[in-house]
């Protein structure tokens, strides 16, 4: 690994407002961007929970014209993005507001990219492949995990090949995010657990990334602290706004870390899994995490030692010297965490064939997240890790 202190690094973050009541600033910011008509991208769940109507009510009160697009499913599909872009053009919108979790936010990014550039959303797969920047994007995240509200990532499902593609570009970093922890109180336990584990995975992968830097480290480590402290608490008492804010802050910090240091093998494998079997992203991460850490450990042991001490609730600053058996300690801590969140150890899915396993491994190998994993992985390594969490045919 290069010396993270002297290596060339860059840190990109959007403007964001964090705290209870952040949402109420939305009309103000839309005016700042001079938009004449908004596309509000959301999903049915958020509409039912009342958050989307609440945001729209604020726009109405401010006399801001908008049109709602809520045809977004979990793991947003290319077709939905194209429908949204079509709707955007027909409605004559000139700014996008995303209200929701990763799905509406990623879909909103896809819509913005297509609205600005034309063509098909899958054409923009890859890194720095968005020539014309998308229209202004304001994000109001309502889950604490994906951090699409601060990241340069948009993950879209290619519905023909059942493949998750990544659009990675500074051009899809939102212009402003209003992070209001209160909006996350309406998440149910499953969603809270899955998105929380996604955030923790972001923090750990960003910290272990071969592109980590002092600034991303700062964010990643603090994120782990917040998440390990507040995630179980938020599950126990969903309307504890402090606990929710702690998880939201953890998610935000993890997002700032991974958007700049990128991720690793867990996400490469989770993308493949989520695409092929349409499984929740957070759950895939939660189950893969300890196995990938066991595999990666030898590459950056001192980093994982630090993670271990944080997961065990000991402040990183007090840890001195190498922490022996850290890999096992992490596995144990993660096991406990999963239990406290009501998560199991293996995926409950239909049995997976050997051919499917090979396909999964092939996709994970070509995922851009693998480029920053601290240890090079082979197809066989990846198949071995999948086998640990998937039921075999």
């Amino acid at each position: 690994m290069e010396n993270p202190l002297t290596a060339l690094r860059k840190f990109v973050a959007p403007e964001f407002i964090f705290g209870n009541g952040a949402l109420a600033k939305c009309a103000d910011y839309v005016r700042t961007f001079g938009a004449s008509k908004l596309l509000v991208v959301s999903d049915e769940g958020l509409v039912r929970a009342g958050w989307t109507p609440k945001v729209e009510g604020l726009f109405k009160g401010a006399g801001i014209d908008f049109a709602r697009f809520d045809g977004v499913s979990p793991n947003p599909r290319d077709g939905e993005v194209m429908d949204g872009a079509d709707f955007y053009r027909k409605q004559g919108c000139d700014m996008i507001v995303a209200v929701g979790g990763g799905s509406p936010m990623d879909c909103a990014k896809g819509i913005g990219v297509v609205a600005a550039n034309g063509g098909h959303v899958l054409d923009f797969e890859g890194v720095d492949n968005v020539p014309i920047p998308m229209p202004p994007l304001l994000c109001i995240p309502t889950t604490a995990g994906t951090a699409a509200d601060v990241s340069q990532f948009a993950i879209i499902l290619d519905s023909v090949r059942l493949n998750k593609i990544a659009i990675i570009s500074k051009g899809v970093v939102p212009d402003i995010s209003l992070i209001d922890p209160e909006t996350s109180c309406t998440m149910d336990a499953d969603l809270s657990a899955a998105t929380g584990m996604d955030a923790l995975t972001h923090a750990i992968e960003a910290y272990a990334s071969n592109a980590a830097s002092p600034i991303t480290d700062l964010n990643a480590l603090k994120a782990i602290e917040y998440l390990i402290t507040y995630l179980p608490q938020a599950l126990r008492s969903p309307y504890d706004t402090e606990a929710r804010a702690g998880v939201m802050m953890g998610s935000l910090l993890a997002g700032l870390a991974f958007s700049n240091a990128s991720l690793g093998l867990v996400h490469a494998m989770a993308h493949a899994l989520g695409g092929l079997l349409d499984l929740p992203h957070g759950l895939c991460n939660a189950l893969l995490l300890e196995h990938v850490i066991a595999f990666n450990y030898e590459a950056v042991p001192e980093r994982y030692d630090r993670v271990a001490s944080l997961l065990r609730g000991k402040p990183a600053e007090t840890t001195q010297g190498p922490f022996h058996g850290a890999s096992d300690a992490i596995a144990e801590a993660l096991f406990k965490l999963r239990r406290s969140l009501g998560l199991g150890d293996r995926l409950e899915a239909a049995p997976v064939s050997a051919a499917q396993l090979d396909e999964l491994a092939r996709r994970a190998l070509s995922d851009p997240c693998l480029l920053t994993n601290p240890r090079a992985a082979s197809g066989a390594d990846i198949v071995g890790i999948y086998a640990a969490i998937l039921p075999r045919a």
């Binding site: 860059k10 890194v127 720095d128 920047p133 500074k170 899809v172 990128s262 480029l371």
Partner: protein, 276 residues
């Protein structure tokens, strides 16, 4: 010799890709609308320059045309002036000649010719007076003409009445001259023969009407005196009187119809000229 193995090139591809992901690729700057904005501004600016150029060319062309028109108008005015002056000169020459003629008959023919010359000169005079270059107001022309002939006739007890209900009827010079000559002949006829005792009334009217069948608009000039009238058999044949011959010729030139008849009431002579 250096060779790059497939693994090697794959490795450097991956390295480039990784650099881009962490924001260090070429051009992986933050989202910026500025280049697009600049391009739009440059585009608009160049369009504006082209437009301003076009406007300038058009303005130059316009002032050139204005100058040309002004020049043309000046020339026309000058020509009208000269024509009018020439008519005046001819009129004066005829006046001078009149003095040396002893035959009353010849003198009368001489002054009729002078009147016709003056009539034509009057059309040009009116053009200049109205500051128009191609056409004259017919009401004004007829009124002025009949008034002038009235004073020349020296019959102050004759009463003149005008009924000109065709304002804004303009006739170009080519048509105004024959029309003026026709009116001049008809009016002179009335002044010469219509008022033997030096009193009576001449009504002059100009009207617009529409033909019943086709709805075509026409105009009508009427000169009606209340004199002794005429005997249709007693009129000289058109070939023998120059005045009647002129009316006949000029009317056909104008594609106009004319008639002499007795007005309702059975007294006097009415001359009517219809033209489109």
């Amino acid at each position: 010799m250096r060779r790059s193995s497939p693994e090697h090139s794959e490795g450097s591809d991956a390295e480039a890709q990784r650099a881009k992901i962490i924001g260090l690729g070429a051009g992986s700057a933050r989202k910026s609308y500025y280049p697009q904005l600049q391009e739009k501004i440059r585009d608009l600016e160049s369009k504006q320059l082209t437009l301003m150029d076009t406007v300038r060319t058009l303005e130059e062309r316009e002032s050139e045309l204005e100058l040309l028109v002004e020049e043309k108008n000046l020339l026309l005015k000058e020509v009208h002036h000269r024509v009018k002056n020439n008519f005046q000169i001819i009129g004066s020459l005829l006046n001078l000649g009149l003095g040396s003629i002893s035959s009353e008959l010849e003198a009368a023919a001489f002054s009729r010719t002078k009147r016709r010359i003056d009539t034509m000169g009057m059309v040009y005079g009116q053009l200049l007076q109205a500051d128009r270059f191609a056409d004259v107001d017919l009401c004004e022309l007829v009124t002025q003409l009949v008034n002038a002939l009235y004073y020349d006739a020296g019959k102050p007890s004759v009463e003149l009445a005008f009924d000109m209900s065709c304002p804004d009827l303009f006739l170009d010079v080519d048509r105004a001259i024959p029309l003026a000559l026709i009116v001049s002949e008809a009016a002179s006829n009335s002044f010469d023969h219509g008022f033997p005792d030096g009193r009576g009334r001449l009504r002059v009217s100009l009207k617009e009407g529409a033909r019943e069948e086709s709805g075509t608009l026409y105009h009508l000039v009427e000169l009606c005196d209340d004199g002794p009238g005429f005997d249709i058999g007693g009129l000289p044949p058109p070939g023998s009187s120059l005045g009647l011959m002129l009316i006949d010729l000029l009317a056909s030139q104008l594609k106009a119809l004319y008639a002499f008849d007795t007005p309702p009431g059975g007294k006097g002579t009415r001359f009517s000229l219809f033209f489109i």
